[in-house]
């Protein structure tokens, strides 16, 4: 029988271990037909600002911004849902604009300013949007929540910048904050728990307070 100790390895360690195995295997197969200099160019040094702090990383070019944040900088607040741009759980701000961190490479963000949920606010000093999500029960399991909050903060800025949406009636009139506008503009953030109506309430409250 296996000792109970062997089972105390966390799911996280397992993921890290299996990822390492994959890396070793692919490097090994590459060495058959590539020189070591070519292999070296398959990683790039990147320097960017994350939540106000200058960070430098040497990354395999394949590393998405999402994996750089989670696996290299250990900012695990940003979540991986689908890894294909379909759910919005990975939403972060790049130079103030909301993006899907899973569909962009870290190396493409050299010199940029990245903000994750950890950078918006912390326990004890929550961002108003974080507080509003808590107050309005804008979540159940919480998995989509960091993405929802980052997305909604940037979304309100988009309205302020007068960027129209699919439901905007008059393209030449100033953009408005209405429940229909919020729903349309937040459609890139899926909530499996269906907390949508409370999410809209939380966002509406913050939008109203700002106006």
């Amino acid at each position: 029988m296996q000792s109970p100790g062997a089972l105390e390895i966390s799911r996280r360690d397992l993921l890290v271990a299996s990822a390492a195995t994959v890396t070793v295997a692919s490097t090994a197969s590459l060495s058959h037909f590539q020189t070591s200099t070519a292999a070296a160019s398959q990683s790039t040094k990147i320097s960017f600002t994350v939540n106000g702090e200058r960070r430098e990383l040497q990354l395999d070019n394949r590393t998405t911004l999402l994996d750089a944040l989670r696996e290299h900088l250990h900012l695990t607040g940003t979540k991986k849902g689908c890894d294909h741009g379909q759910c919005g759980a990975c939403t972060v701000l790049a130079d103030g604009r909301r993006v899907n961190a899973c569909l962009t490479l870290a190396v493409m963000h050299e010199g940029e300013d990245i903000t994750t949920i950890e950078g918006l606010g912390q326990p004890g000093s929550l961002h108003p949007m974080q507080a509003a999500f808590v107050e309005h029960d804008g979540f159940q399991c919480g998995y989509c929540t960091p993405g929802q909050i980052c997305s909604s903060v940037a979304m309100l800025e988009e309205i302020k910048a007068n960027i129209p949406s699919h439901v905007t009636g008059d393209l030449l009139a100033p953009a408005e904050v209405t429940p229909a506008e919020i729903r349309e503009r937040m459609s890139g953030n899926i909530c499996r728990c269906g907390a949508y109506s409370n999410i809209v309430e939380a966002i509406t409250e913050i939008a109203g307070r700002k106006a």
Binding site: N61, R62, D83, H84, I163, L171, E184, G188
Partner: protein
């Protein structure tokens, strides 16, 4: 994802040259389509040329009274531009009907035009697909084809082009400007950019290896009502089953391009001349050579009804 080397290009010429001289090189712009496909190893470039810092990200007036849209202008910024909203509303509407706020913030004008099909078998690497693996067969013909094309198709492939933006650009007769690796430039009318599948569905457009899109030029604005209507399985964040980009004049004449039904934005000038005679007359001509499957035959009626709604809105 397969390993690749990476370079950040700072001039148009360098980007085009690098792409032509490096085997397996591809440009990456927003990355929202390319990276998706690289993760599934459907796209396996060995070298990526990042074109995000080429500086072709402005929208400028042309001497002819139109607009030149830099290839790297993001979908959000194009839709929000005051001139686009005022003079090319059909394009602003098409952009806003596509993808999500996050994706539009990254997606670029050139990348949107060259995005690849959403055929479920193209994405499923365990299934035969002539587009992904030439000669392997088409799984969609006898499979799940509800979303796919009804016109312009071949026995080899019935995939449709997923872009909303391109449908409006087709109605507007946009022109795609490129630079080839030898530094020469050319202008390709959007009507000629995408190829029909024929026997070679893996060849999707007329651009050469290393040919870089630098801009899309819109001719001077068209008067009339600008309408983009998209029909899809959910109200937001879904690809079109059928979409219609139209510019309709008070006398009932105008332009119509249709999305979701063909391997490229579908427009037929002869069908368009039937506009004053109503949606049925237009659709009959537009879909005369259609070859729907049992599962997507509903698109035939859907095109007519969507156009009918568009024409009612234009009159209203």
């Amino acid at each position: 994802m397969r390993a690749f080397s990476y370079e950040r290009a700072s001039t148009i010429e360098a980007a085009a040259k690098a792409a032509a001289s490096t085997d397996g090189a591809k440009f990456i712009a927003g990355g929202t389509n390319l990276l998706d496909l690289m993760k599934l190893e459907i796209e396996t470039p060995t070298h990526l040329i990042d074109v995000n810092r080429l500086g072709v990200d402005r929208i400028e007036p042309t001497p002819e009274g139109g607009l030149r849209i830099g290839a790297l202008v993001r979908n959000t910024d194009l839709a929000a531009d005051e001139r686009i909203r005022r003079d090319y509303a059909v394009l602003a509407r098409a952009l806003l009907a596509g993808a999500s706020g996050q994706l539009r913030n990254r997606a670029t004008t050139a990348g949107n035009l060259l995005q690849r099909t959403r055929c479920p078998y193209f994405y499923d690497t365990s299934q035969p697909c002539n587009k992904r693996q030439p000669g392997s067969g088409c799984s969609a013909l006898s499979g799940f084809s509800r979303q796919l094309a009804v016109v312009g198709v071949s026995d080899a492939c019935i995939a449709n082009h997923p872009s909303d933006m391109a449908v409006a650009m087709r109605a507007l007769d946009a022109i795609v400007e490129t630079v080839r690796s030898d530094g020469t430039t050319r202008s390709v009318p959007i009507a000629d950019l995408h190829r029909l599948p024929g026997d070679t569905p893996h060849i999707e457009h007329v651009l050469e290896r290393g040919e870089l899109i630098t801009a899309v030029v819109l001719p001077k604005p068209l008067s009339g009502k600008h309408i983009y209507r998209k029909v899809r399985d959910r109200a937001s964040y879904a690809f079109a089953l059928v979409s219609i980009a139209a510019v309709v004049l008070p006398d009932g004449t105008g332009r119509v391009a249709v999305g979701g039904i063909a391997p490229k934005p579908w427009r037929d000038e002869a069908a368009e001349r039937e506009l004053p005679n109503g949606a049925r007359a237009v659709t009959a001509k537009l879909l005369a050579n259609a070859r729907p499957t049992e599962q997507n035959a509903f698109k035939m009626a859907l095109v007519e009804r969507t156009l009918s709604a568009v024409l009612a809105e234009a009159r209203g």
